[in-house]
Amino acid sequence: MTYSTSGSDSRMLNARHLRPGPRGRSFPLSRLLMLPTIAVIGFFLVVPLGIIVTYSFLEPATFGGVVWSFSPEAYIQFLFERDIFDDTLAFNTAYLQIFLRSVSLAVAATLVSLMIGFPTAYFIATRPERQKNILIFLITLPFWTNLLIRTFCVLLILRDDGLINTVLMGLHIYEKPVTYLYNNTAMAAGLVYSYLPFMILPLYANLERLDKGLIEAAYDLYAKPWRVFTEVVLPHARPGIIAGSLLVFVPSLGTFLVPDMLGGGGRLLIGNLIQLQFGSSRNWPFGAALAVILLAAILLVLMLAASRSRSVNVQGGH
């Protein structure tokens, strides 16, 4: 069956043609309904993306903005340092280190979110219907507040005269405040706190559909609890784990709020680096190039995840 929109048909556009449904022969209404989405994505995703890629191959102007002449300098700058005097290139890992630090922090945040999120999602999914709805509502509650304010609240809890230190010192467990802030752990904690719901929600949606009969069947056939988990729960949950991990990993990789506030601003992540280039450093092409590199890295991860879940499907999943 084809959806060809022949000339005569579209001229005769009438109520019959606007009827939705798979058998609409000329111009199905469902296609019209897609237009707003296409317009929004086209205008606010494809066009800005084009601008970023273009800018990354231009030269920086002195006070921000770009000079319209082609130059791969921004990408060279990512890996090499150009000597001011003789223009020779020396390999420089400074930016690469920031990039790798961002990736490892995002990986850590994803793993911790998974370890906290999986039991939580499983717990909620096995509650009675009424409790489930309440618990899921509670999980989504943080979204009611701005991310900046939530991150600031973490700061209030962790800082030297914050909630934890006040309590610990009040109980005389410590005499001097312990510094929790301004290190990788604090940043990871902030990321986990910010994005944990994105891990829990897809996992919950997945685990909620897990047939309890399968667990009983495995248990009945001499499986120990751990084997029930690896043989039945985990294969079922794989799509949920992949979805949740991506939803945590991707925004964690690009974050600049968390390192700014919880990292103390001294430990740059790629997100901050990009922000800097468009701000005080006034090197738009380099910022654009960093954004493109980040995008490429994320796309690579997405493609890996996609091929992974496809191979799971071939194995006979759903």
């Binding site: 047939d211 009969g213 399968l214 009983e216 069947a217 495995a218 248990y219 009945d220 056939l221 001499y222 499986a223 120990k224 084997r227 043989e231 039945v232 294969p235 079922h236 194995q315 006979g316 999943g317 759903h318």
Partner: protein, 366 residues
């Protein structure tokens, strides 16, 4: 004694706290095909889950093969379950599904391969070993579930309405297959069903459950021919039921006076006291009708006459509704043995004949 349950009580916490099972005693022999029969909500599945180990009894003892097991988890009990919706592992092939139990028992790989192959042959699924469950038909999935539960040679197989998800033709085939499988493997089968036909066709013994209690237990013939309560009489097969009183003439045989005054001869009664309020029951197929003018072949059975008020043609049989002079209606099921004709028209006057033992009196208790 294979499986012995004593004084089993099960109360689920929460609403009402009405016991689901209340004082169930059961003994199931080795190699028996034992059926738990009852309507939905009677506790039959809960009873099965207690034996499997998915639930713990609130009170009472469960002994499997000489070992008390109330606190033993399912993975340590030598019984396996075939679930109502099969519960096949969707991410595993047929062969891996069947081999699951052996893998969990850490049997050597070559033994697993051998046993899985043998079991797949037994259920005639050898060609489908590499398929996934969703690629199989309902009947094939059913057989995979059977093979998976049987491959570890459990001492008893628990089947929870395993045929209810199949269409009727396939269900008839699987009945025969199950029965054959049970005979060939010599494993005790405990079969849960709400289908009385299934229970009668397959079982060595049946326990009829109702509201958490065993109403009657016995061989199929016993359950069908000699129901002891109104519930069993009406749940298993079709039954004419008349309310009234037992009459016990001194020395003579029992009789029964229905509420509207008809007198029925009674062969057997669960109670003996004269004038007891009871029920007279008779199976529709035990009744023979004859046109009033042809005469009487009751051979000492009841002498009743009536008028055909309705009839249902069922192919093999026809069910006639006969209005008795005192106001009650009797259903008679007559086999359509003759090639054509030989039926009674609506409005025809008929004599009701039956063999001597056809009418029985049972307790009135609902």
């Amino acid at each position: 004694m294979t499986i012995e349950l004593k004084g089993i009580q099960k109360v689920f916490p929460g609403a009402g706290a009405q016991p689901v099972l209340d004082g169930v005693d059961l003994q199931i022999q080795d190699n028996e095909f034992f059926t738990l029969l009852g309507p939905s909500g009677c506790g039959k599945t809960t009873l099965l889950r207690l034996i499997a180990g998915f639930e713990r009894p609130t009170a009472g003892s469960i002994v499997l093969f000489g070992k008390r097991v109330e606190g033993t988890p399912p993975n340590e009990r030598p019984v396996n379950t075939v679930f109502q919706h099969y519960a096949l592992f969707p991410h595993q092939t047929v062969a891996r599904n069947v081999g699951f139990g052996l893998r969990m028992l850490r049997r050597p790989a070559e033994e697993i391969d051998r046993e899985v192959g043998r079991m797949l042959e037994l259920v005639r699924l050898g060609a489908l070993a590499d398929r996934f469950p969703h690629q199989l038909s309902g009947g094939q999935q059913q057989r995979v579930a059977l093979a998976r539960a049987l491959v570890t040679s459990p001492r008893a197989l628990l089947l929870d309405e395993p045929l209810s998800a199949l269409d009727s033709k396939l269900r008839d085939e699987m009945r025969v297959e199950l029965k054959t499988l049970q005979r060939e493997t010599g494993i005790t089968f405990i079969f849960v069903t709400h289908d009385q036909g299934e229970a009668l066709a397959m079982s060595d013994r049946i326990a009829v459950l109702r509201e958490g209690r065993i109403e009657q237990m016995g061989v199929p013939d016993d359950i069908y021919e000699r129901p002891r309560t109104r519930f069993v009489a009406q749940f298993v097969g079709d039954m004419n039921v008349f309310e009234g009183r037992l009459i016990k003439p001194p020395g003579g045989p029992f009789a029964f006076r229905t509420r509207s005054g008809a007198i029925l001869p009674i062969a057997e009664s669960t109670r003996q006291d004269d004038n007891a309020e009871m029920l007279a029951v008779v199976r529709p197929e035990k009744i023979r009708l004859a046109l009033a003018e042809t005469g009487d072949d009751s051979q000492g059975g009841p002498r009743l006459s009536g008028v055909v008020s309705n009839k249902l043609y069922l192919g093999t049989d026809t069910v006639y509704f006969v209005d008795l002079p005192h106001g009650e209606t009797l259903r008679a099921r007559m086999q359509n043995a003759a090639v054509s004709g030989d039926s009674f028209e609506i409005g025809a006057s008929v004599l009701v004949n039956a063999d001597k033992g056809a009418f029985r009196a049972v307790d009135r208790r609902p």
